[in-house]
């Protein structure tokens, strides 16, 4: 049984993203635990990449800090193994395909499952290119979390229909980052998804305020926040733990109950 399957069983969820290794892997472990205590349903761990083309400046900055701190894929696997001794929260990696490809699909997926990772979000691997990696992930019961964008239109059903874990609905055009206003008709994307699957649909990109979480979880199964969290880590660094707890708690409290 994959841990993500239970994440949305009894409630809608708040999903938090952090870059692994920012400012250090030791702190990443602590931050995950703090965010779990605050009520996060699932945590996305970013594997830092030299050229994260789907990220805005805030998460690019976290990638740079993590790489400068000497973070590598192997060290992240070791950290997750340690983390798994303390928590059973569903964990997914957000990583660029080259990190997986260069490590070797088989080797990467095997290490994920051994360490306790439940799924992968790969922003530069669209539907058309999942054929190489997906069978390997299936073998290890590792879920591929697909992304659906405001421009996906007639692709929505095809992407959603066999999705496992949850579906990442991208709220806005552009890259990750806090936005003052989101104009996409996300609700109609979610209802399109509902026509073909019961897999939870969670909304991300541009979210930073509890009111947005409340609005989105009216009709979606979860809200995803990255840049706003990474900003807190960027500001408070090693001391970010309590601030993350406070922030994530407010956000989790705003999630609409089932």
């Amino acid at each position: 049984m994959n841990r993500i399957d239970k994440a949305f069983d009894n409630n809608k969820g708040f999903i938090a993203f952090i870059s692994a290794g920012d400012p250090s892997l030791e702190k990443t472990k602590e931050f995950v635990i703090e965010m779990e205590k605050a009520g996060a349903a699932l945590v996305e761990l970013g594997i830092p990449f030299s050229d994260p083309i789907a990220e805005g400046e805030v998460i690019q900055g976290a990638n740079v800090r993590a790489l400068q701190a000497g973070t590598t894929t192997d060290k992240i696997f070791d950290m997750v193994k340690e983390l798994r001794k303390e928590t059973n929260i569903p964990l997914v990696f957000l990583c660029y395909l080259n990190s997986v490809f260069k490590y070797g699909y088989e080797n990467f997926c095997k290490k994920c499952v051994e360490a306790g990772i439940d799924g992968l979000i790969i922003p530069d691997m669209p539907l058309e290119e999942k054929g190489e990696l997906l069978p390997v992930m299936d073998k290890y019961d590792l879920y591929l979390i697909p992304l659906i964008a405001p421009t996906s239109k007639e692709r929505i059903r095809e992407i959603a229909k066999n999705a496992k874990g949850f579906i990442y609905v991208v709220s806005s055009l552009g890259v990750t980052g806090v936005r003052s206003e989101i104009t996409t008709d996300v609700k109609s994307i979610v209802s399109e998804i509902r026509k073909v699957t019961d897999t939870p649909a969670c909304i991300g990109f541009g979210i930073s305020k509890p009111s947005q979480v409340a609005d989105y979880t009216e009709y979606a199964d979860g809200a995803i926040v990255g840049s706003a969290i990474v900003k807190i880590i960027g500001e408070y660094k090693d001391e970010a733990g309590p601030h993350l707890y406070e922030y994530v708690k407010q956000m989790c409290d705003a999630v609409v109950k089932k």
Binding site: F49, S50, D51, I53, A54, G56, E57, Q60, L67, T72, T73, D74, Y96, L97, N98, S99, V100, F101, K102, Y103, P123, D124, M125, P126, L127, E128, E129, G131, E132, P146, L147, I148, A149, P150, T151, S152, K153, R155, I159, V170, L173, G174, V175
Partner: protein, 394 residues
């Protein structure tokens, strides 16, 4: 899975936000490439705006001095805007117009592709925004001003290594911000399908002309054709029509920087490994964890950590050879061709000239080499002076 593949290379590894736009571009290109009206318009632009066909020039002095094969240069440096980049940009700008796009965005390294894009946008009434690494805006300041004169907005890119790779990243990000009215006029035979094919088709005019010109002048095919390779657009343009001519050697010259055994190099074929980046599977300079390596070359246009997927496949098949040329060799060639032929060639093209200087003397007098002079070197004069320690009091 096979769509847009060159052997195992190529593909469409981009964010979902771009996929619909990429498919629209594929469909539009499939239609227009066979549309007689589109082709007539492009042909007219090539002739009457870009100044095609470009000369196939017999370099008599260099042939004599080097004392081996007969040397011809394909003079892409004589095109409007001074480089081969205009061939691709006129095609893509025309395609953008036909698709109803309002804006072109593009990355640039040396500035040649940026200038060409700004030129085509000005001519065709499209908005234009160019992304250029901060380091490149400094080493090619004149081209920045040129683009601005042409009405383009130039965005210096401060992320990563602040060079060509980062300009591509920022262009992709910008395209996801505003995909529907914008065409990303990619400057090389790289990126996701259909770009490597579109750019190759528009650049193949180089070898289509060169093949006919050499048959007319010499009554036979050349023994070798060569070109510099960054992403590889002038090289694929120079190779394409000769790929089927098995007796013609295809030689790509990449930038070794300070040397392929140093970490100051951009020689992807010599030092890279298979990876997935910038929308394509191909060879890249990267570490064991797939982090893209910071690369280096004196030439901003060759300072790129990857290579186009069709080149990667030509290498795998053994159809083309790739050699690495250092900064020092390229600068020496830059000076040699200037003094011998009275041609100031781009520092990018000078990488091919440098290898030509090694290769020609090893061949016999009845053999023929065609070397692509991809661009003119006016933009490089100040940088070469600095490299040589000459104070120009600019």
């Amino acid at each position: 899975m096979d769509k847009g593949r060159f052997g195992i290379h190529g593909g469409q590894y981009v964010p979902e936000t771009l996929m619909n736009e990429i498919h629209k571009l594929e469909k539009a290109y499939e239609f227009y490439k066979n549309d007689p009206e589109f082709n007539a318009e492009l042909d007219k632009l090539n002739r009457e705006y870009a100044g095609r066909p470009s000369l196939l020039y017999y370099a008599e002095n260099m042939t004599k001095t080097l004392g081996g094969a007969k040397i011809y240069f394909k003079r892409e440096d004589l095109n409007h805007t001074g480089a081969h980049k205009i061939n691709n940009v006129l095609g893509q700008a025309l395609l953008a117009k036909k698709m109803g796009k309002k804006r072109l965005i593009a990355e640039t390294g040396a500035g040649q592709h940026g200038v060409a894009t700004a030129t085509a946008a000005a001519y065709m009434g499209l908005e234009c925004e160019i992304f250029m690494g901060r380091v490149d805006t400094e080493r090619q300041a004149l081209n920045v001003y040129r683009m601005e004169l042409l009405g383009a907005k130039v965005h210096p890119v401060d992320s990563g290594t602040k060079t060509l790779k980062d300009a591509v990243n920022e262009c992709m990000r910008e395209w996801t911000r505003r995909p529907e009215d914008t065409l990303y006029a990619l400057g090389s035979v790289m990126g996701p399908h259909p770009f490597p094919t579109i750019v190759r088709d528009f650049q193949s005019v180089i070898s289509r002309e060169a093949r006919a010109q050499i048959l007319e002048k010499e009554g036979r095919l050349p023994d070798a054709v060569m070109a510099c390779v960054g992403g590889g657009s002038n090289a694929i343009g120079m190779f394409y029509e000769f790929i089927k001519d098995e007796g013609v050697r295809l030689i790509g010259c990449e930038a070794a920087g300070k040397g392929v055994d140093t970490d100051k190099t951009a020689a992807t074929m010599a030092t890279g490994t298979l990876g997935v980046f910038h929308g394509m599977k191909s060879y890249f300079c990267q570490d064991n964890y797939g982090q893209i390596a910071p690369v280096y070359s004196i030439s901003a246009g060759l300072d790129y950590p990857g290579v186009g997927p069709e080149h990667a496949n030509l290498k795998d098949m053994g159809r083309a050879e790739y050699v690495a040329v250092t900064d020092d060799e390229a600068v020496e060639a830059f000076e040699f061709i200037a003094k011998q032929e009275g041609i100031i060639a781009a520092i990018e093209s000078s990488h091919a000239v440098a290898h030509l200087m090694k290769l020609a003397p090893t061949m016999s007098k009845d053999q023929i080499i065609i070397c692509c002079l991809s661009g003119r070197g006016d933009k490089d004069v100040a940088a070469i002076a600095r490299y040589k320690g000459v104070d120009l009091h600019e």
